[in-house]
Structures are given as C-alpha cells and as structure tokens.
Amino acid sequence: MKSLARQKLFKSIIHWLLTFLVIVYVVTGFGITEFRTVEALTLGLLTKNLAFKIHNNLWIPFIILLGLHIFLSLIRRRKKVVYGL
C-alpha cells in the first residue's frame, strides 16, 4: 500500500515537472522568436540569448520526463488489467 502511495507521488511529481518543462519550452521559444515582447514582459530577465541557452538544453530532460511519464502510465494500466486496480 505504501509503495503504491509512493508510486502515485512519484508519478505526480513527474507529471508536474513535465508540465513545468512544457511551459518553459513554450516561453523560451517565444523568448527567441518574439524577444522584444518577452524581454519587456520579464523586465529584461529573459533575454534572447538566455532563452536560446535554456531552450536548446531542455530537450534531454524533456525526453527523460516524457519517457518516465509514458512508462508509469503503462505500468499503472497493466496493474489495472492484472489486479483490477
């Protein structure tokens, strides 16, 4: 039971991290293509160069999190089928 709760928590963390990453991906993407607007909105914090650096380095954590997200969903689905959970 404890392990199931832990698994749920882990899944939830992955889910929220993935959501956060997708948002960062989109925002930094705009930080590149619409840099004038994004720089003004972030009070100069997210510059085009910084957006580039973040955007270009996000794909590895994104793929890892996406992989984990899919993997955990598959495990849960399998458990549902096998144990009727």
Binding site: I32, T33, F35, R36, T47, K48, N49, F52, K53
Partner: protein
C-alpha cells in the same frame, strides 16, 4: 412592315459595330505609351532556386525602419584619411555593382537563399584610405544596431553592401537602403539599414548582440553563443 423591321435591325447592328470598333481601338487612349511597373522579384537565378524576399522572419531590435532617402547619408569615418558622406544615389552610381547568391542563416533556425546585388564594402572603404592602425570595421544602423568585423574579413572577401535582393530594391523591412551580406557569418552580422561604417582599432568592440553573449566573429561553422 417586315422590311422596315429588317432595315432597323440591320441599322442597329451596323451602329453597334461602329461603336464597338471605336471603343475597341482604344478611343482617346495612346497605345504607344508604355508605363513601367515595379519589377517583380525573381525566384530562380542561373538554375538556382531562390527564396522569396518575404521568407524572412522579422527579428530586428526595434522593428522595421523607414528611412527618408532625401536626407539619408552613408558616413565612412573613424581611422580614415578621407571621411566621406555619400547620398544613396552617389553610392549606387559611383561604385561598381556585383551580384551573388548567398544564403543567410539565422540563429533562430531558418535560412534563405537570395540573389544580392550591391557594392563591395572594401571598395567603399578603400576610397576613404584607412589608416594603418585600423583593425576593426564597425557598422552602425539607423535603429542603433551595431556589429563589427575584422578589417581582414572585409578586405579579404567579396563582402557586398546590398541595395537589391532578387532583382528588386530592398524593401524597408529588409533593410532599405543598404544591408550587409556578411557571407559565412550568422544572420545577426547581416546588419540592415546601414548608416555608418566606422573604422577603428578597438579590437574589444562588441556590437548589439555580441555584447549580449553572441559570438563576436559570428562564424557560421562555429556556434553563435560565446562561452
């Protein structure tokens, strides 16, 4: 009665034909006059496919600039014996024109193949006789944008300052009156709306994006981000 109707019908057809003939011949229009329209861009040059002049993404620092060509002057100043101020026509008419297909690669990931036509920057600079201490060529734009190159790059390559792309004059949003065709450099080195060419010995000079972390050389075969 039938004859009268036939006569009226024939007469009306005859009159109609005369009217059509007069209008069809153009009436008072003078067909010998030819009005020249704005040329359309070409999309192929010597068998090479070209991108459209509208295929660019707008990514300038202050949006497209609209320059009044009557008051426009191209300044060549700094470490030169003869500083110069040229009007647009003086640049166009006093220097030899060159054309070349060059690809612009933007750091954002897109690229365009364009036929550029303009003057060689080294010929413009040579006219002002650079001093021996000159090491850097700094370009200034109307919107405050700047970028720089080593003098060796400018003098050792056929670097064009373009006034035409795909056989049409540069539109305002593409850098009218002049855009630099910085061959083998990232797009941020292709300065638009050029107003000034400054010769300097300041090797530490950094342009707009260069002072914000982009590579100073901007070489295409290297990354654009300076570590």
């Amino acid at each position: 009665m039938r004859k009268l109707i036939a006569a009226v019908f024939t007469l009306s057809i005859f009159i109609s034909l005369i009217i059509i003939a007069i209008n069809g011949c153009g009436g008072d229009r003078n067909m010998d006059e030819t009005e020249e329209l704005e040329p359309a861009e070409i999309r192929e040059y010597e068998g090479e496919k070209l991108s459209s002049i509208n295929a660019f993404r707008e990514n300038s620092i202050k949006g497209p600039q609209h320059i009044d060509i009557e008051s426009y002057r191209l300044k060549i100043r700094g470490l030169v014996e003869n500083p110069a101020h040229y009007t647009y026509d003086e640049v166009i008419n006093n220097y030899k024109h060159y054309k070349k297909v060059v690809t612009l690669d933007c750091v954002e990931g897109w690229s365009v193949d364009i036929l550029w036509e303009g003057m060689l920057v080294r010929e413009l600079i040579a006219e002002s006789s650079p001093l021996p201490s000159t090491k850097v060529v700094i370009f200034h734009a109307y919107d405050g944008y700047t970028t720089s190159f080593s003098l060796d790059y400018i003098m050792g390559n056929d670097i064009i300052m373009a006034y035409k792309m795909n056989e049409v004059a540069l539109p305002s949003e593409r850098g009218y009156p002049f855009q630099l065709v910085a061959e083998s450099k990232w797009g941020y080195k292709w300065i638009r709306w050029i107003t000034e060419i400054e010769l300097s010995d300041d090797v530490n000079y950094r342009g707009y994006w260069e002072s914000r972390g982009y590579s100073n050389t901007g070489d295409l075969d290297k990354g654009f981000s300076e570590e």
